[in-house]
């Protein structure tokens, strides 16, 4: 490649969802030949991870969809040829637009839009709501449960460690800072710097992931028991070691709130405010009137004629049952290890210490606990996420140096934080940015569900997306029981692969219940093969995304500058192929609801009354609409990026923005009174619907409690767990069609092979390199190649990433590795009714193929 003929274009990586790095694309004769990190992009250090580097091969996928396609084979299923007929765009619109019109007239909720494309949320959401339809934001159904805690604890959707100031990093089923989590590139450097500085890393995980391999200590744990160990940590930190941050508990949590025998707050009769026992005054006073040093955390008091105790004392007493001696046999973690790691963690937090950054004295809590998908994707997910993320609250590290920081919760102080009448912090993130998630506090009013996601039955969940595939798979009469008396007439999906979300076996059947399925595809995949019409979509290397890292999504935390990314096409899309959002605008225009979309766009993006407000009847392009938000929100514009030939706009961040913890009002929960309060309301709706037999409300308890998963006890010879973890070279199913990523994946002994502990393998008579079947209790099985290792919990067999593709379209990536999702059972009784998490504990047995 002679460099003279090469044109360089600055853009932003989008191989995973993170939009983490500024990149330079090298283009020769219109062909993308290389992508590298942009050395001038300071926020990401000019570096680039393995995934983004492999971008040049993606837009040229041999199975790229270049023309609209219409199904001619009525039989749908995995491996069945849809017998595509190429049609023109006009023909495609003639098929789709009447379906939209019909659906909108009949019942607009019959439209479901499913997408996992962060840069377009600001448009796709108003599109669907403007239509009157419903939304499903997710990609896969497994991750993201900790977001339920994030708005409360971190006042943001995402959180990350403040690696720069921390000394102890506890990765709980997570690989943060190891090129697989949010901000892979940025965090990797910061994590490496922290370790070089002497920070200790401990990883609790059934699998020796690269993070665990590199850590100072790997603590293997039995899958599904993290909640038990987490509660044991709470117990040790509070009762045994007394290493909790008492001042933080008193001033920033509801720990001191007085609770009566009914487990609800005791309130001031006049102001209705929850009460705190004032030790100086010797009486209960509204929470906002008691000085921190006079706040009681323990004791029993008589208030308003009832016996009341601070929530913290109830919590401390409740936690005593979770001693290491009890928890050790549940988790298989030795008693000594539990005590030692917990003590190290608690001591590292240096409760009470401060640090001066840029002249400002701030609390310094240099210990963090970051939880991942594995510990939290369970039947009792809501308790698990608040327990594991709550460990940070116990040591008071929320949004302070050395602790856990939300992604941009306090940008320009105008995305401010307010305090409600009960004294709790309200993050404005969710309402402000409508990115598919809601605040988890206060509880919303439970109602008969309107959406397939049953969000109305989940009043304290940030999203309940997992119920949608479950509901879709039910026959109409079953579905009616949940109040869903309508069908999904139009299902639109893009940047997501719903056919393989959970169990491909069961999702394939579920999607058959959709009346009309429109899929936007860059390349043929499992979902496209189930669609009625497939429309071509431009690849990210070919498109503009003026808001490439939407706020609260991917923005480095801590003492760095703010940066806003702008994605521009590095190469031209194939002829006739455009950004899916432009197609959606075209569809809205043709179906006659574009003014509603524009109106919703103005409302949700707060353009009303601003110079950028859209005219309702005018048709704008996706880039124009994005530009309006850019100008209104950041004071930057598409023109600015183009004129400066850059992809990044930076702004200085001050200390209050970087570490908002001490500067924002409001408390967070360690005692979940609002769960208890909303429980009867949920029960009422459940009773009205008559679904008490399948919809329990047992988890609505104010104190976090360990309850085993259904898969906790082995049965019928299914005595192993199939576990799944991320790997650096893959993200989502699409990466399994990239030959470069696949080639790299093949170079690891444990990524495409199936790690089994040597002793377990010996028990089953399996040798290294043997072909094996992994069969789950749900009757599904998948083939793998055994890799004997010491680096996995002996009760587990490991699978990585998405695994092998199941699409007819592409040969590439099909014969790679076991697809964990094919083992999973999609069952309502395995789901957390509070937040829709499906239990990821899959019991399996293995045998030679």
């Amino acid at each position: 490649m002679s460099d003279k003929d090469v044109k360089t274009v600055k853009s932003v990586c989008y191989m995973c969802q993170c939009a983490d790095t500024g990149i330079v694309g090298h283009v020769k004769d219109g062909v993308l030949v290389k992508v590298e990190g942009d050395p001038e992009c300071t926020p990401t250090f000019g570096r680039q991870c393995v995934k983004g580097l492999s971008a040049p091969f993606v837009p040229y996928n041999p199975n790229r969809v270049l023309k609209p396609l219409k199904r001619t084979n009525p039989e749908r299923g995995i491996g069945i040829d849809p017998k595509w007929e190429e049609i023109s765009w006009e023909e495609a619109y003639d098929i789709i637009v009447p379906k939209l019109k019909e659906c909108r007239e009949k019942n607009p909720l019959g439209l479901m839009l499913n997408f996992f494309d962060y840069p377009t949320y600001h448009l796709a959401t108003p599109w669907s709501i403007g239509f009157g339809g419903q939304l499903y934001f997710g990609a896969a159904t497994w991750c993201g449960w900790y977001h339920n805690t994030a708005y409360q604890y971190h006042l943001s959707f995402f959180r990350e460690a403040d690696y720069e100031h921390t000394n102890y990093i506890l990765l709980w089923g997570a690989q943060a800072g190891h090129i697989v989590d949010a901000l892979p590139v940025h965090s990797a450097k910061e994590m490496a710097d922290a370790r070089a500085r002497g920070a200790k890393v401990v990883v609790i995980d059934p699998m020796m992931t690269p993070a665990a391999a590199l850590a100072d200590e790997w603590v293997p744990i039995r899958p599904g028991t993290d909640l038990a160990l987490g509660l044991c940590f709470w117990n040790l930190l509070i009762n045994e070691f007394e290493l909790y941050d008492a001042d933080f508990m008193k001033s920033k949590t509801n720990a001191p709130y007085l609770v009566g025998a009914d487990e609800l707050y005791v309130r001031d009769p006049e102001t209705n405010k929850p009460l705190i026992w004032d030790t100086a005054a010797g009486k209960a006073r509204p929470f906002n009137e008691v000085a921190t040093e006079d706040t009681a955390l323990f004791g029993e008091y008589e208030v308003n004629g009832v016996k009341a105790r601070p929530a913290f004392s109830l919590l401390a007493e409740h936690l005593k049952q979770y001693s290491p001696e009890v928890i050790s046999p549940i988790t298989t973690v030795p008693v000594d290890t539990i005590r030692r790691v917990c003590r190290e963690f608690g001591e590292a937090a240096q409760v009470g210490s401060t640090i001066k950054i840029k002249g400002v004295e701030l609390p310094h809590r240099p210990a963090v606990c970051l939880s991942g998908r594995g510990p939290t994707a369970h039947r009792h997910s809501m308790h698990a996420v608040f327990c594991l993320e709550g460990i940070n609250a116990i040591i008071g590290n929320l949004n302070v140096p050395g602790g856990t920081l939300g992604f941009a919760p306090y940008y320009k102080k105008r995305w401010g934080v307010t305090e409600d009448e009960d004294g709790f912090a309200l993050s404005c993130n969710s309402t402000y940015f409508h990115f598919g998630s809601l605040d988890t506090y206060p509880a919303r009013e439970p109602k008969k569900p309107a959406w397939y996601t049953l969000l109305d039955l989940c009043p304290v969940a940030t999203f309940s997306d997992n119920f949608y595939p479950m509901m879709l798979s039910l026959p109409p009469e079953e579905r009616k029981k949940f109040g869903l008396d309508y069908d999904i007439d139009v299902f639109i999906s893009t940047h997501s692969n719903p056919a393989v979300y959970i169990s491909p076996h069961e999702m394939t059947e579920a999607i058959k219940n959709v009346k009309f399925f429109l899929y936007f595809a860059t390349e043929m995949n499992e979902s496209a093969e189930l669609a009625d019409v497939v429309l071509p979509n431009s690849h990210w290397t070919e498109r503009y995304d003026p808001i490439a890292n939407p706020p609260f999504k991917f923005e480095a935390v801590g003492d760095h500058e703010w940066y806003w990314f702008f994605r521009r096409p590095m190469i031209d899309p194939p002829p006739g192929v455009q950004h899916w959002c432009d197609t959606m605008i075209e569809l809205a225009d043709r179906a006659g609801f574009l003014p509603d979309v524009n109106q919703l766009y103005n409302i949700l993006n707060e353009l009303n009354g601003s110079p950028q407000e859209l005219e309702l009847d005018k048709r704008y392009s996706y880039v124009e609409m994005s530009d309006a938000v850019l100008q209104n929100r950041y004071g930057v514009s598409v023109d600015w990026y183009e004129k400066n030939e850059t992809q990044v706009f930076t702004e200085p961040k001050d200390i209050e923005e970087a570490f908002p913890g001490p500067f924002v009002p409001g408390r967070c929960h360690v005692y979940f009174e609002y769960w208890k309060r909303v429980k009867p309301e949920v029960e009422k709706v459940v009773k009205e619907l008559g679904i008490e037999d399948v919809w329990d409300t047992d988890d609505y308890t104010p104190l976090l409690t360990w309850t085993p998963c259904p898969a906790f006890e082995p049965k019928n010879g299914f005595d192993l767990f199939a576990i799944n973890y991320k790997v650096a070279c893959h993200t989502f199913s699409h990466s399994y069609t990239n030959p470069l990523e696949l080639e790299i994946g093949h170079t690891y002994p444990w990524i495409y092979r199936t790690p089994i502990h040597a002793s377990t393998a010996a028990k089953y008579g399996i040798k290294d390199g043997d072909e094996i079947w992994i069969e789950s209790e749900f009757g599904y099985r998948v083939k793998g190649t055994a890799h004997l290792t010491e680096g996995i919990h002996p009760e587990c067999v490991g699978t990585s990433g998405f695994g092998g593709r199941l699409t007819r379209g592409a040969k590439t990536g099909r014969k790679v590795s076991p697809n964990w999702n094919t083992l999973v059972g999609q069952r309502l009784d395995l789901m957390d009714k509070m937040n829709s998490s499906l239990d990821g504990c899959v019991r399996v047995k293995i045998y030679k193929a």
């Binding site: 590298e36 393995v50 041999p62 892979p184 990797a188 070279c729 170079t747 690891y748």
Partner: protein, 200 residues
Amino acid sequence: MTKWGMTIDLRRCMGCQSCTMACKTKNGTPPGIFYRRVVEKEFGTFPNVHRTYVPMNCMHCDDPPCVAACPAGVFSKRPDGIVDVDSSKCYGARVCRIVCPYDAIAFIDEIVPYGEKGYLPPEKYWYEKFESGTAVKCDFCIDRLEEGLDPACVKTCPSEALKFGDLEDPDSEVSKLIRSRGGQTLNPELGTRPNVYYLT
């Protein structure tokens, strides 16, 4: 006089193979041809197990066995320490692969496409400079060095495990790291005197 060398920090390497990918896409090597790679090794027994990732590329030895053994003069030691490779001289004796203690030399048997239906558009540009039946290897990205840039692998490493610089200059980052961290070469007993140092 400049003497180029590299340090690889095994405490920073996360085994993500971004360096491998950056190398592949920068050099545009055909399927199966790697100038560098990350080798992993597991130690210990459960639960006291470790896995170490060892990124490896050409060690640009001071006593390079490939230069001595190659009958065709494909390899040469440059004054700046780089062991250069001129594949157009290679006739395929493959003795370089026998004598290199670090598996640094790849041999292109045949150039096949990555694409399942033939060459993908970038591949057409990638493979222009390769011919089948020749040996290839890392040259520390000489073309990038001439432009004042670090090698592609060093530049991309997300955890900054790789550093590159002048070993003769006592103030260069690599020299300082080798001194302060006690940099070691891989398999020094083989007497090849590598210029890639590992930090543990």
